[in-house]
Amino acid sequence: MSEPGPEGRPILEAAGRPGRSIPQVVLTDAEAGAAEFAGSTSRVFNYFTPQKRRNTTYENVTVDVQPDPERYLTQGWIYSFADGTMGYEADWTRMKSSDWHAYRDPNGEWERTFYRHQTRNVHQVQQTMELARTTNVFADWDEKWLEIFAKHVSTWMHPEHGLGMYVFVRAQREAMTNMHNNAISVMAIHKMRAAQDIALLNLEVSQQLPDKFDESVHQEVWMEDPMWQGVRENVERMFVLGDWAEEVFAANIVFEPLVGELFRSGFVMHAAPLQGDYVTPTVIGLIRTEYERDLNATRDMFTLLVEDEEHGEENKQVMQEWLDKWVPLSIKAAQGLEPIWSEPEVQAMSFEESFGQAKSRFEDILSDLGLQLTEELVQK
């Protein structure tokens, strides 16, 4: 090949049709490897240390996009809040880290993976609903179950929405790295999609059985039914926390296993099929799957903090305080739901059994983090 200069040579005159003007196509030979010089093979983002041997795509698109004066931000943050608080401050949480930037989302979520997963989930839900609609399965639902679905299963849309919209959306503003914040924004959308899925299932039922189904009673139940007030209190108390890590902890380490999984897996997943409902478990099962992902992301987040050489012990103590504060609320919320277990015509698991499973799952999560419940909490 002859040697084209960097300016290249036009291979087509920009003639075009009369009265039109089109840009020239120019061969520039500006592809990788066309010349050798210092730095010509430096084809990896080299300003961070990958977690494994090589940069993953997730790391490439995530790490250091939120800068930090502790890393390369030499001029510092250039706008602050009224009281002088900077755009991102490590003391927005009581957790301390000797290296916030070590965290990686174990799910490696970035836009491509996230939209792929979510679209798959949406298709699954829509296919299930479509099938239910065309085969008219809602007609098989036990009447009692229809009422339980209206009053309790549907009510579950609210805690999902509250966590997504008013806990995680805020928390994703506040952590010290892009890795934390992106992982938390994924959690927010998981929860919001869960809430919307339940709402749309409710809508579907109301369209199929317009006379037999009270589609908006869940709002009243959520605000007033004594069974649900513990759950609502637990969720609302997370709305006003100022500490993003506490929000994630209270939601994913405490509330979700003790209340979320208790209701979703311990009640709905088992009870629904026995009443002829095979649709709801698909929707609820997805929420459970997504919680597993969120839990993985959360567990890694807090494991790093517990194992931090400098601050691990102190962090553990703060987490213990958080347990003391949130476990009683979540236990109260869980116990409030107990009467629901005896409502269906056909009983699946007892509340005790479900709650026992939820608690043991919760204890497993705590032991992964090296945390323990105080005696007082164990009694409950």
């Binding site: 061969l27 491509r112 679209t119 829509q126 849309m157």
Partner: protein, 545 residues
């Protein structure tokens, strides 16, 4: 999902929210605006079940194009002049995108309207999409373009570079200070509604003319999310306008946002589009022509002005001042000259301008040659290392500028410069509106009313003061803008790829770097006045070096 069912679904999901009773709301993100409950609807009727399949479809198209670009080896016909500026642009833009995601809770806390909150949550995840899809695009450039240096240090360079800091306002401004100022006016009403057209529509068309069709694919996909974001902003703005007490604040925030973003975005994008292109057809639009269409006609005349009927005080004079800087005062041409002067501390290359470029500039911007032609000729003659210094340290007649304390672009239209003693130091501003931003807008009261939620301008705002008195080569090492051999520079004042034409730190040793602001503060009052008088008179470029 069919359209009808989306409407029904959207109506249904309005049942999700409720008024908490166990806790008092205590927004962490404060605003001085006041709102009445309820109000605006979300005309876009966003529901996640219809959103995800739509977005994934867009992704398919984007990644299909990425594969095609790699298979078809797009980089054989991409203009190095253009790609080099992408090292700057794509280092900046993912941060504003992700900051937009982070900004959403500022409004979910401040605006009492759950229907708008729903739209904001969609915007949050859209912005995560934008940020990561752009980072991925940049990685493809790094892997496939002849010179990856500068892409390989991208986020580090963004963090420690003067130009990165200028761009960072477009990001930090979304997430700090008064929640409404930041997320509604600065982000949604001005950045997204006004500037995404120049950023995400004008840039792609220029990219394509320079052989780069990946950037258009990614950025038009990004742009397709913006109409939803503009709607979020519009709804909130109308809610704010419904309350008379907000009107002065809206006016303040519009002045600040319109001016600051003009200063920042037009500096970068004006330079990239006019100086990063090899397409010199006479009928291709210049940046000024694009600005006139996208900003002046589409945004200002067709969006802002009609809002006057709702009581919006449109700062016409600010828009006109910005337009004058672009159309008459050569704003972004001064910026391009400054970027090129500062090449030794950049992390991208800047190609010299040729006769063909000169002709195009003179045609599009009459009078251009008299102001800039000779300097660019000097730039060309100094572009290969052969015993002389980088152009900033040769006697061209150019006077290294003071930096604007507000927008952090230098004070380049010299006669507009304002010097003032503010918060215990002498500061310079590029224009009266930038002076106003620091001394009037970013303060604890506005037009006699207290504004306790308004943010503060912070940080080491003059980049040069970090390196006052340093040796230039030491600065380059400190910044990390040195290639793998430990001495060849990442930036070069040309796009030639022969090793012997590359500048190294050896060429920069022994040159002392100085901060104009430090020097200004060291002067006696008399010296300072005289200095500023001379500064405002400008300079003349020498005929010969």
């Amino acid at each position: 999902m069919a359209r009808k069912s989306v409407s029904k679904a959207h109506a249904k999901i309005q049942e999700l929210s409720w008024e908490p009773t166990f806790v008092e709301k205590d927004p962490k993100y404060k605003t001085d605006y006041t709102f009445k409950e309820g109000g605006q609807k979300d005309p876009m009727k966003q529901v996640l079940q219809s959103y995800f399949p739509m977005q994934e479809e867009k992704d398919h198209r984007v990644y299909g194009a990425v594969d095609a670009a790699i298979r078809g080896n797009m980089w054989r016909q991409v203009q190095p002049r253009w790609m080099e500026w992408q090292k700057l642009f794509l280092s900046i833009i993912p941060f504003p995108e992700i900051s937009a995601a982070r900004a959403m809770p500022l409004l979910t806390e401040a605006v009492p309207n759950p229907e708008i909150h729903n739209g904001l949550a969609f915007q949050m995840i859209d912005e995560v999409r934008h940020s990561t899809i752009q980072m991925n695009l940049k990685r493809e450039y790094m892997r496939n373009y002849i010179d990856p240096a500068g892409f390989d240090i991208t986020e580090k360079a963004f963090s420690n570079n003067y130009a990165g800091t200028i761009g960072r306002q477009f990001g930090e401004g979304f997430t700090t200070g008064d929640a409404l100022t930041a997320c509604n006016i600065y982000l949604q009403v001005v950045a997204e509604t006004a500037f995404t057209n120049t950023l995400f529509v004008a840039m792609p068309s220029e990219a394509a003319a320079n052989g780069d069709y990946l950037l258009p694919t990614v950025f038009l996909s990004v742009q397709s999310d913006e109409s939803r974001h503009m709607n979020n902003g519009y709804g909130t703005l109308l809610m704010a306008l419904a309350n008379d007490e907000n009107k002065d604040l809206i006016e303040r925030d519009l002045i600040y946002s319109i001016w600051n973003q003009h200063a920042v975005v037009d500096a970068a994008i004006g330079t990239i589009i006019d100086y990063g292109s090899k397409d010199r057809r006479k009928d291709r639009d210049s940046y000024a022509e694009m600005w006139k269409r996208w900003y002046y006609d589409d945004y200002y005349r067709s969006y802002l002005v009609p809002l006057e009927k709702y009581g919006l005080k449109v700062p016409h004079d600010v828009v006109e001042d910005a337009w004058r800087r672009i159309s008459d005062d050569f704003y972004h041409h001064h910026v391009a000259q400054f970027f090129a002067t500062g090449w030794p501390v950049n992390y991208w290359r800047i190609d010299p301008m040729t006769d063909e470029d000169f002709e195009w500039f003179e045609n599009k911007y009459p009078g251009w040659y008299d102001k800039f032609g000779k300097w660019w000729e000097h730039y060309s003659s100094l572009s290969e290392p052969n015993g002389h210094n980088p152009i900033a340290f040769e006697n061209t007649g150019y006077v290294y500028p003071h930096r604007c304390w507000s927008c952090m672009v230098p004070c380049l239209i010299r006669e507009d410069t304002i010097m003032d003693y503010v918060d215990g130091q002498w500061r310079t501003y590029c224009h009266k509106w930038c002076h106003w931003q620091d001394t009037v807008a970013y303060r604890e009261e506005y037009k006699g009313r207290p504004t306790p939620a308004m943010g503060k301008m912070t940080g080491k705002r003059e980049w040069e003061s970090l390196y006052h008195g340093w040796d230039l080569a030491d600065i380059q090492h400190d910044l990390g803008y040195v290639r793998s051999d430990g001495k060849t520079l990442v930036p070069q004042p040309h796009v030639q790829f022969e090793q012997d034409k590359m500048w190294t730190t050896d060429h920069c040793k022994g040159i002392e770097f100085q901060s104009p602001n430090v020097l200004l503060n060291e002067m006696s009052d008399e010296e300072r006045e005289k200095h500023m008088e001379e500064y405002k008179q400008g300079f003349t470029i020498n005929d010969t070096l």
